[in-house]
């Protein structure tokens, strides 16, 4: 016979093994190794915390007492996994997009990050889960007791209380160690998940082993087992249809709403695709778990004395048969079921309690300054650890007070019914845009009150909390308020009755108040984010930047996320914005990202409040309000979805617009140019045509007239040719296709050449030069430079309006630059015209002295090609042009 000491030793060894597995998994995850940690199989196994000790032991008891009814407990989740796969997928997607930390966080975030809702959900979850934890403690103590009864030395037996106490302590310790290593609840607890997966394997293996032993070892084969089942009362269909449906629906709802299920299913989920595997693997797991339940129950009823607790058949059958090894295995299976449930439930609840109750209170008490000056991180961690200890202790307390009686056995379903109250608000929030915070609050409130009154309080047993009088005659003597026959619904199964009324009233209240109330802007935004999670880029309506102090935000984030993590987050954000350093602009995008990051640590509502305290001001921007005011949901969703795209498009459009403006301007310039060219060409052609027709058609022309008209035609033809030459020259220069013919010569020679070329024609122009200054050797395209000089001299000759026109050409070297000034003694160019004289076709004054107005434009282009420039020099008395040429060319050439 195994002694209790040995059992304790086995337990300790098993726990040490779990520690090692969890530790190794955490280490592997930390080093980025261990892909298998994130495999869909581990995910599926972690879901098996649904099968607690209550199902491990209790299913057999259930089967022994009420036949096949136990199947409903497995049927509900199976239906959810297979049929409601899309609901799960949406939950997981929303959970990841919004960095949801718990079911309370989900509901609170959906309804405008309302902390009231979060607190309410948390409290209800604690109330619903505490008895369940007590149940786990009870099942382990009972299994200890089962060993003790068979043991030789009953004196060795520890008291149940002591067992429960040490168990609770150990579980709290384990949970604190592995559940609060990271503050960020969104960072997966790899160690814990791995340990749970291992426990899932152990409990399945244990149950299967016992089952195989019972069927083939005790009953003597499959057919004999079936015969025994037929003979037992289990075979009788003694369950009402309504109870079947009720229980299946209840377990389905609980599967979605249990905080611990939410923790493993959504929060710990690594990859949405894992759901695909889980959709078939988890039902398969459940099927295996339930495979031997009926045989064990039937054989147990058959073989064991009537006094034996059917809940412990799994354990007492091997014990009675003297199979100690199998009994210990079975015990470990039950132990695994119990511990994994407590650990995950404690993590899930502690996250909720610390994020939604402790932290908000602490923030409120310490005021806004604490966010910056206090050590939020430590406080949050401490809050979470204390919460874990507190929750496990509550479970222990409940176990102590209730005395571990049979009342506890029923508490499983009572607890299910409690958490099922979350369902309308959660599912409604995921799929119905119209759901509001008021509706959710109302539904939850009504549902939980009905649940408390009709199921939870009566579950303590008659006249424990509710007096016999109330039970029989209703509250205040109103018969329609009898807890188990509300509104006159008599004769129903109490559980089905309570589930029906609570869910019915909850859902109706939720829908009714949602329809009647008007959601706040932030609720609408969050609603759109949740309902259309697949369409949205994961952004929530949020902060308007500008007032925020990025540095304060960084200080706060460091306190919560830890120094290096916060700094790298800020640095990344800054980099994304194209800024160096650690302080990004507090843009709405950045603030939203930060809030989401923080919400992973302290929950959505608290993160919202913390960022709000620093950023200050409205939490909803004017644009958000405008978007909300727009009642057509499609437009809003559409615009949200396209937001990122549209900013990008706006940028591109702006670039296009600029390019287009440039092109339009070029096109306008081209039009103007063509128009000018047309004018310049048509004018001489007009004269040519008119005079040639005169010459052709008029017979009686005097010889002088004929000759005059012929010379006009001649002059205009030359003018046309010159115009075309200039145009071609200019176009070559402008297109940059001109090749420079670099030669060497002195400036003096070049000016001589130019003066000679420009001489002749009308008017006498005196040119004054200081030849002494002009002995400068140039190495450039001399022909082009001469062209510029000729143009300037010719202009002076043509346009200088002095009585005795003269042009002074002075030369000066300033540093590396050669300056040649051409200054005449005329009236010069009016100030307002000085800016345009270098433009094409610009002509000053009335003179039509043959030029097309291209000369200076050509000069400007030439000088640009030569690396210099030609400018107008104001304030010199007459018209003054300065030619500037860098002498590096000369030096380089020498």
């Amino acid at each position: 016979m195994p002694t209790l000491n040995m059992l304790v030793l086995v337990c300790l060894l098993y726990v040490v093994l779990l520690f090692l597995v969890a530790f190794a998994a955490d280490r592997a995850a930390l080093r980025g190794r261990g892909k298998w940690l994130r495999s869909p199989i581990v995910y599926t196994l972690s879901l098996s915390i649904y099968c607690t000790a209550w199902t491990f032991y209790g299913a057999v008891g259930f089967a022994a007492r009420s036949g096949l009814e136990f199947v409903t407990i497995y049927l509900g989740p199976t239906l959810v996994m297979i049929g409601w796969w899309w609901v799960l997928r949406k939950m997981v997607r929303v959970g990841q997009a919004q960095r949801i930390t718990s079911i309370a966080d989900l509901i609170s975030s959906r309804y405008g990050k309302s902390n009231t809702l979060a607190v309410f959900v948390t409290l209800l979850a604690v109330v619903g889960t505490t008895p369940y934890i007590a149940l786990q403690l009870q099942s382990v103590t009972l299994s200890f007791a089962a060993f003790a009864e068979t043991g030789p030395d009953t004196a060795q037996a520890m008291s149940r209380q002591a067992t429960a106490f040490w168990l609770a302590l150990g579980l709290a310790l384990f949970t604190i160690l592995f559940g609060t290593r990271n503050l960020d609840a969104n960072e997966r607890h790899h160690g814990v998940v791995m340990a749970i997966a291992l426990e899932a394997v152990v409990k399945l293996f244990a149950l299967l082993a016992v089952g195989v032993f019972v069927v083939w070892g005790l009953a003597g084969g499959v057919s004999e087992t079936l015969a025994r089942i037929d003979a037992s009362e289990i075979a009788e269909w003694n369950v009402s249809g309504s109870r079947w449906i009720g229980l299946t629906a209840l377990s389905a709802a609980a599967f979605l709403c249990l905080p611990r299920m939410f923790q493993v299913m959504v929060v710990e989920n690594e990859n949405e695709d894992h759901l695909r595997t889980a959709a078939w693997a988890f039902p398969a797991y459940l099927m295996l778990m339930s495979l031997f339940v009926v045989p064990i129950a039937a054989v147990g009823l058959d073989l064991l004395p009537k006094s034996t607790n059917p809940d412990l058949f799994v354990l007492s059958l091997p014990l009675a048969e003297g199979r100690e090894g199998l009994a210990i295995l079975s015990f470990l299976g039950g132990f695994s079921s119990a511990t994994s449930m407590v650990i995950v439930a404690a993590i899930a609840l502690s996250t909720m309690v610390s994020n939604h109750i402790v932290m908000p209170i602490w923030l409120n008490m310490t005021g806004g300054n604490a966010v910056i000056s206090g050590d939020v991180r430590q406080v949050a961690l401490l809050a979470r650890r204390l919460s874990i200890a507190g929750i496990v202790f509550l479970g222990y307390l409940y176990f102590q007070i209730s005395g571990g009686g049979t009342a506890l056995a029923k508490i499983g379903l009572v607890s299910f019914a409690g958490v099922a109250q979350f369902l309308p608000a959660m599912i409604g929030g995921l799929f119905w845009r119209g759901a509001t915070r008021t509706g959710a609050l109302a539904g939850l409130l009504i549902g939980s009150v009905v649940w408390l009154y009709s199921l939870f309080l009566p579950s303590f047993g008659a006249s424990m909390v509710l007096s016999e009088d109330i039970m029989q005659n209703g509250l205040l003597g109103l018969s329609w308020l009898r807890p188990q026959a509300l509104f006159g619904a008599e004769g129903m199964d109490p559980l089905v009755h309570a589930v029906m009324w609570s869910m019915l009233l909850n859902t109706s209240g939720f829908i009714l108040f949602s329809l009647l109330s008007f959601p706040k802007p932030i609720e609408r935004l969050q609603g759109a984010q949740f309902v259309n999670v697949y369409d949205h880029s994961p952004t929530t309506g949020g902060w308007t930047g500008g007032l925020a102090q990025t540095e304060d935000l960084l200080i706060m984030a460091q306190r919560i996320m830890g120094g290096s993590q916060a700094q790298s987050f800020f640095a990344r954000a800054a980099e994304r914005q194209g800024i160096g350093g650690y302080l990004p602009e507090p843009s709405p995008d950045f603030l939203q990202a930060l809030e989401r990051e923080l919400s992973g640590s302290v929950g959505g509502a608290a993160a919202h409040a913390m960022v709000g305290q620093i950023v200050g001001g409205a939490s909803v921007s004017v644009e958000d309000l405008m978007a909300v005011a727009d009642e057509t949901a499609q437009i809003m969703e559409y615009s949200n979805r396209l937001e990122a795209k549209s900013t990008e498009l706006t940028r591109t459009a702006r670039q296009l617009r600029e390019a287009n403006e440039k092109l339009t301007q070029l096109s306008r310039q081209k039009d103007a140019f063509l128009s000018q060219v047309s004018h310049e060409l048509r004018t001489p052609m007009t004269s040519i045509r008119a005079f040639s027709e005169i010459l052709r058609d008029s017979d009686a022309l005097k010889p002088a007239e004929s000759s005059k008209y012929a010379s006009v035609i001649h002059d205009e033809a030359i003018r046309l040719t010159r115009l075309l030459d200039d145009l071609l020259d200019l176009s070559v220069l402008e297109s940059g296709q001109v090749s420079l013919n670099v030669q060497t010569g002195t400036l003096g020679d070049l000016l001589d050449r130019a003066a000679a070329s420009a001489a002749g024609g009308s008017g006498d122009l005196e040119i004054r030069r200081k030849r002494g200054d002009e002995d400068i050797v140039l190495s450039t395209d001399l022909d082009r430079l001469a062209q510029v000089f000729i143009n300037l001299i010719a202009n002076a000759r043509k346009y200088c309006d002095a009585n005795k026109p003269s042009l002074t050409i002075s030369t000066r070297v300033a540093g590396d630059t050669l300056l040649v000034d051409f200054i005449d003694n005329g009236t010069g160019i009016p100030t307002d015209k000085q800016g345009v004289i270098f433009e094409k076709f610009s002509r000053i004054g009335d003179t039509k002295a043959g030029g097309a107005g291209l000369g200076l434009a050509i000069c400007r282009e030439i000088m640009a090609r030569l690396g210099g420039q030609v400018t107008y020099l104001p304030g010199q008395g007459g018209a003054a042009f300065r030619v500037i040429l860098p002498l590096q060319e000369r030096l380089a050439a020498q």
Partner: protein, 122 residues
């Protein structure tokens, strides 16, 4: 005394050509080669017909035409517009400004003669 035509044009060769063509047909050709005071010249001369260039120094032919059409005494005066910028846009502008006729340079001598004659008859 023949009918009078006022030629507002700044290109000397074109002035000479038109003067020759019209004088031979018996017209009294007066010229003005500046845009700024062109309207004053019109008021002073009160010609039977005006030939108006578009590109004039000082003031554009369109502006001058608009001013003529705005003056009750001159509003009915026939105006032949000449332009060297043969774009449809210019034709439209001329029509909007109220030109009686519009002609693109270069023109044939017979054409301008015929046009001026018609403008006075109508």
């Amino acid at each position: 005394m023949g009918r009078q035509v006022l030629l507002i044009e700044d290109e000397p060769n074109i002035i000479e050509a038109i003067r020759f063509i019209l004088s031979r047909d018996g017209w009294d050709v007066k010229t003005h080669s500046n845009g700024v005071d062109a309207v004053d010249a019109v008021r002073a001369r009160m010609p039977d017909v005006i030939i108006l260039d578009v590109m004039l120094p000082g003031k554009s032919g369109f502006d001058i035409l608009t001013e003529i059409r705005g003056d009750a005494a001159l509003a009915q005066m026939p105006v032949l517009m000449l332009t060297a910028r043969g774009q449809t846009k210019d034709r439209e502008m001329a029509e909007r400004a109220g030109a009686s006729h519009y002609m693109t340079k270069p023109f044939s001598n017979a054409e301008i003669l015929e046009t001026v004659r018609q403008l006075v008859v109508t």
